[in-house]
């Protein structure tokens, strides 16, 4: 069977999106939507695997994330955005896949292992959490996704998906599902304001796309620079200085950044002045996003309707896929 390239990507709605998402995935999606058929899934059920006791947070963030998508320029006419829990076929396919993978194989998944450690579940790993690579395989294959933008730490998930695809196709004698390729993202991970390796929703080190101007300024002013750079006239260090890290990523005026680095290294450029400059760069980027977001937020019902309409479209695709699955598995009673 010949499959066309289809991009599947998504986010867990556990908080609003931040600059790390912007450079790490959103920009990429804005480019991909012109090139490929693209689906973005808001993974509410996956968010519940470790937020089972906090469904309101998940629900609220579904719309926040939608607002983020639309305000950065993800175009619902080009990209189909949908919500996971409204596609029951994903649950059905997950259940079928669970028969094609062993418990041991799931426990050996490096991504799951690492995440289990970081969440310090100890002996009490929820079954749903162990299973989530299987659920992801169903997310991807229900729309016959062939391209999944992932970070390096997520490569084992792609491998797991392809193992299931091969096992399913082999067991039921027909190439229902395509194998999936990882689309490595072009930009590396954006570090947090505090200099930690990763900007994280819940780490308190993130600039959210929805932050207002004042919050943005406050956050930029709190950024980790060079702790040895005490007086304006002191020479400062550029390496490991978050302000320069961000300027490298966000300032399109590379000559200006080079000048600032030179000046900072020499001494004579104070952190406050430098940060004000970064603030301006970021504010220029974020102002139109913020404006559009505020506009969209006035009519949340309309935003929900966009999500529901995308979901309806995916439901059709998913039902078609499940019909094929039922056919080869002899589960087609009607």
């Amino acid at each position: 069977m010949k499959f066309k390239e289809i991009v599947l990507t998504g986010d867990r709605p556990t908080g609003p999106l931040h600059l790390g998402h912007y450079v790490g995935s959103l920009l990429n999606r804005i480019a991909l939507q012109d090139e490929y058929e693209q689906y973005i899934m808001i993974a509410d059920l996956q968010a519940l695997t470790d937020n089972a006791d906090n469904p309101v947070k998940v629900r609220d963030n579904v719309i926040e994330v939608m607002l983020d998508y639309l305000s950065v320029g993800i175009d619902p006419l080009k990209t189909t955005i949908f919500v996971q829990s409204m596609i029951p076929e994903i649950a059905e396919l997950t259940i079928l896949y669970l028969n094609l993978v062993t418990v041991n194989r799931l426990q050996r998944n490096p991504t799951v292992k690492a995440e289990m450690q970081s969440k310090s579940y100890g002996e009490s790993v929820p079954a749903g959490f162990l299973m989530y690579p299987v659920s992801q395989a169903a997310d991807i294959t229900i729309v016959k996704g062939t391209l999944v933008p992932v970070g390096e730490d997520q490569l084992p998930m792609i491998e797991q998906t392809n193992e299931l695809v091969r096992s399913f196709n082999r067991t039921y004698g027909k190439d229902i599902f395509p194998e999936t390729k990882a689309l490595a993202s072009k930009v590396g991970r954006l570090p947090g304001l505090d200099g930690k390796a990763k900007m994280g929703k819940s780490l308190g080190n993130a600039i959210f796309l929805s932050d207002d101007e004042q919050t943005l300024k406050k956050k930029v002013m709190s950024m980790f620079t060079d702790p040895g750079h005490l007086r304006v006239e002191d020479p400062g260090q550029v390496e490991g200085n978050m302000v320069f890290e961000y300027l490298d990523v966000f300032d399109t005026n590379k000559v200006k950044v080079a000048e600032l680095k030179h000046q900072y290294r020499q001494g004579g450029l104070g952190d406050v002045k430098l940060k004000m400059y970064l603030f301006e760069v970021l504010n220029e980027l974020l102002t139109p996003i913020r404006t559009k977001r505020a506009e969209l937020a006035k009519n949340r019902e309309a935003v929900l309707q966009i999500l529901l309409s995308g979901t309806k479209k995916v439901r059709k695709v998913a039902m078609e896929t499940m019909n094929q699955v039922r056919d080869v598995m002899h589960l087609n009673y009607e």
Copy 2:
């Protein structure tokens, strides 16, 4: 919340039903259908957890099992019979339940442990198999079942279901689901023809409800009696003699059975004569079932329609249950 008593029971469609099912569950269901609202689920998806590579067997036996049900007197006007795979809400609920149970808890389930050993999976337990108590909890609770007829070895499954029910109701702050009670079946387990503790579909020691007269006779003639009872005039042993075990269960003429036992113990009653008597008893029981089955089997399409109609009814109930679940979990987007 006050819940009415609802019986949920079912079978895995991995082979036609036999006399063990007849005395162990079918008779019970025929009685229960007059007393309670009763659902019988044909668990095709559960059958696939250890038959993933043989879906045709599962599919074929769905209709065989239906024929067995209808021919013994399960009345589709009183009992709702449905097929598991056509209720996607069960898969959806299973996925949600998986977040409320730990992997360790599932691995400690005594029923699953015993079955894993008997299937000698070793290190390669399919994830779907480990999860099946969760799936069963979804089967039961999707119709809000409160009474589940089980053997003693299945009590841990009921316990697992109630743990999930309590956890769900507590986590989402509303008593959506009732707890389930085990209905211990009145009759013990029917041993196999060979004297083994259990009559099993795949053990080669079963009399199927669909066996023809000749097969029945041949099977009865092969039954394990007293290996020391070589000549007609020898005294024979009644205990552990399968023919007497079966007569105790199936012959309503208890005086006659007592006489035969006496004669057998004294000597002078040959195995062939004794077995011919049991054959007649069983044949009298099975002839009307066989006749009805043959009649029904002429129109398999009509039998399928009965199943689909029951399934449609359950689908409505399941959708209503899932709507309540979506409400309390804030997954109600529409």
